[in-house]
């Protein structure tokens, strides 16, 4: 394991930012620390970097306990949320800074900086100051600055938060490609599920200072293990009484039943529905055009749920009575989550 956190605790006054946090990260992976704001993800990142000290527990990087190693000696590259570029230095000097303080030979610095400027595609802008760059360009400079001293570990705090939506999409792909190309172990913090799913190899979900679940984006999305991870992804709606929906196993002590839009099939009364035996009738409350899909809000069995319909399907009107079929439901018992499949799905496939 390249980075290891063992039983880390950290409090700020009464606020418990890290509550017995432990996880491991393999060399060369791109890890996303995902959680709502205040969940302690940035604190974890700052402790790994050495900008905060844990109250207890061990931080191990490359087999060495680094708790007492000062931030500047850990060999870590850090990209700050607002980039923290040195505003009184040019792009060139910003990128060169780390090597300059290490007193590296001038020619070597020049070679490395030019190489990085080429890599981030900002050739010709070396003499600009950060204030003369766009948000996306600043992020690239921050990235290059962090990489210049060849860190073994790259940490990124909300790297895309300050960039507008269109450029963000482009930068995500760019960053993922870059990191893969360089093979540097990286951890980034984000509160955006889509971002984590799209960019990370492994996602670590944090909530209230605790680690909820660790896994690949696919595992986390399709098999959430805790109540929190269930509700955090997708546009989740809650079912007030899931027992009323047909063909699901009944489980003792269910607290919440959660469905995501892709678990639901809404059909008009005159449309073909293969599993017509286990549909419930619902009333459409709202229809919203979302560009690539239509979002339909339906009241069914006393619950209000969000579903989606393709643009090629016949349109649905507000107030219309529709058939609602649910493929699967996440149910939570205490802190654990289980997936219930609609039994009708299996029976039908047997028939065919």
């Amino acid at each position: 394991m390249y980075v290891e956190l063992k039983n880390i605790n950290k409090s700020f006054g009464d606020f418990k930012a890290s509550d017995n946090v432990s996880f491991e990260i393999e060399k060369g992976t791109l890890v996303g620390l995902l959680g709502p704001s205040g969940s302690g993800k940035t604190t974890i990142l700052r402790m790994i970097a050495g900008l905060e000290t844990p109250d207890s527990g061990d931080i191990i990087i490359n087999g060495k306990r680094v708790n007492d190693v000062p931030a500047g000696k850990r060999g870590i590259g850090f990209v700050f949320q607002n980039y923290a570029l040195f505003r009184y230095m040019t792009v060139y000097d910003n990128i060169a800074f780390g090597l300059t303080v290490q007193k590296v030979d001038k020619r070597k610095i020049d070679k490395r900086v030019n190489e990085l400027i080429e890599l981030i595609g900002l050739k010709g802008l070396e003499k600009r100051y950060p204030s003369q760059l766009s948000g996306g360009q600043r992020q690239r400079v921050a990235f290059a600055r962090a990489l210049a001293p060849n860190p073994q570990l790259l940490l990124l705090d909300e790297p895309f938060a300050a960039i507008d939506a269109k450029v963000r999409q482009e930068l995500r792909t760019w960053l993922k490609d870059m990191i893969q190309k360089l093979g540097v172990t990286s951890i980034f913090v984000t509160h955006d599920q889509d971002e984590a799913i799209e960019v990370a190899d492994t996602i670590i979900i944090t909530n209230k200072g605790k680690i909820e679940q660790v896994g690949t984006p696919r595992e986390i999305y399709t098999l959430p293990k805790t109540a929190f991870s269930c509700s955090f992804f997708g546009n989740a709606s809650y079912l007030n009484n899931y027992e009323k929906f047909l063909s699901f196993d009944k489980i003792e002590g269910v607290e919440k039943a959660i469905v995501r839009p892709e678990f639901i099939k809404i059909t008009k009364k005159d449309e073909f529905q293969k599993y017509v035996a286990s549909v419930s009738e619902g009333v459409v409350e709202q229809v919203m055009f979302r560009g690539d899909t239509t979002e339909v809000i339906v009241r069914v069995n006393d619950s209000v749920i969000v579903a989606k319909r393709g643009l090629d399907e016949p349109t649905i009107d507000v107030g219309e009575k529709v058939n609602v079929f649910i493929y699967r439901i996440f149910v939570t018992v205490g802190d654990n989550a289980y997936l219930l499949e609609n039994k009708n799905l299996n029976e039908s496939s047997v028939v065919i």
Binding site: A49, G50, L51, A71, G72, K73, I76, F78, F80, N82, A84, L85, F86, R87, Y88, M89, F97, G98, V101, Q102, R145, P149
Partner: protein, 273 residues
């Protein structure tokens, strides 16, 4: 509609006129008076007043006190501003308020406080005497009083600038292995330098002109503990008006030189950026 954006021209001219009247009435007119009055009896009298040995000594002492105050308060100001903006600790608000004390209390009172603290009545007076330190009615007292009244000038200029800057850039530099002094020199200082320069100018101007606290502590010993403002007062009280104005003009010139240096530095610095 255009007026909404650019402001009403009447208001603009009214404000310009008002500012102009104030500047002429309170700044230009007195300055002109100082110069004309000092030259009233011809250049020879002026030269005599300015080169008088007491005047020269007062000028030297004023420069000494000013340089000490600026040097001390520069160091203190940077440390205090750094401490207050970059660290969290108990009693920070109290310390911030304490730094402002010298500008909020009357300089005469400040002088009296020092007189009582270091004078004959004080408990520490015997120790000071055994160490051979004479503060009250001596040059150290003058320097001390000057330092005291100009205490917050530099830190007060630096604190707001350092506060808006935050600690991110310093953290970034520290993460890359930069040491404290390198961080200050390459990251923090470029950011604060104009505020810093302005603080020095304010501190210098205030130190040169300090009267109240110095007046109490100096004992008005001509040629020993007299600074320029005290010397002006003595001359004035002795009905020597022309010499009084002549000595005042030295202070005016010193102020003009300080302002000129500042403007030149700023102009060059801004152009280089």
């Amino acid at each position: 509609m255009d007026n909404d954006k650019k402001g009403n021209p009447i208001v603009k001219w009214l404000l310009i006129a008002l500012s102009f009247i104030f500047v002429v009435l309170f700044l230009v007119l007195p300055l002109v008076t100082v110069i004309t009055q000092s030259l009233r009896s011809g250049f020879e009298t002026y030269k005599k007043a300015v080169t008088d040995s007491y005047t020269v000594k007062a000028t030297v002492l004023t420069i000494e006190a000013t340089v000490s105050a600026v040097a001390f308060n520069t160091i203190f100001g940077i440390f205090a501003a750094w401490l207050i903006t970059k660290f969290k600790f108990k009693g920070k608000k109290f310390l911030t308020a304490l730094i402002d004390v010298p500008v909020t209390i009357s300089p005469v009172i400040a002088g009296l406080i020092f007189l009582l603290t270091f004078g004959r009545q004080s408990v520490i007076y015997p120790y000071l005497q055994s160490m051979g330190l004479k503060i009250v009615f001596a040059v150290p007292g003058v320097v001390l009083a000057t330092i005291f009244v100009t205490f917050p000038f530099i830190s007060r200029e630096l604190i707001p600038v350092l506060e808006t800057q935050g600690t991110d850039e310093e953290e970034a530099a520290a993460l890359m292995g930069a040491k404290g002094f390198t961080i200050f020199r390459r990251i923090t200082f470029p950011h604060i330098k104009w505020a810093f320069l302005y603080g020095i100018v304010l501190c210098t101007a205030r130190a040169m002109g300090e009267f109240g606290a110095v007046s109490v502590l100096s004992g008005h010993l001509r040629g020993k503990t007299n600074t320029l403002p005290l010397h002006v007062e003595i001359l004035f009280n002795e009905f020597q008006y022309v010499p009084a104005f002549a000595v005042s003009s030295i202070l005016v010139m010193m102020a003009v030189i300080v302002l000129a240096i500042r403007s030149i530095l700023e102009y060059r610095g801004k152009k280089a950026e």
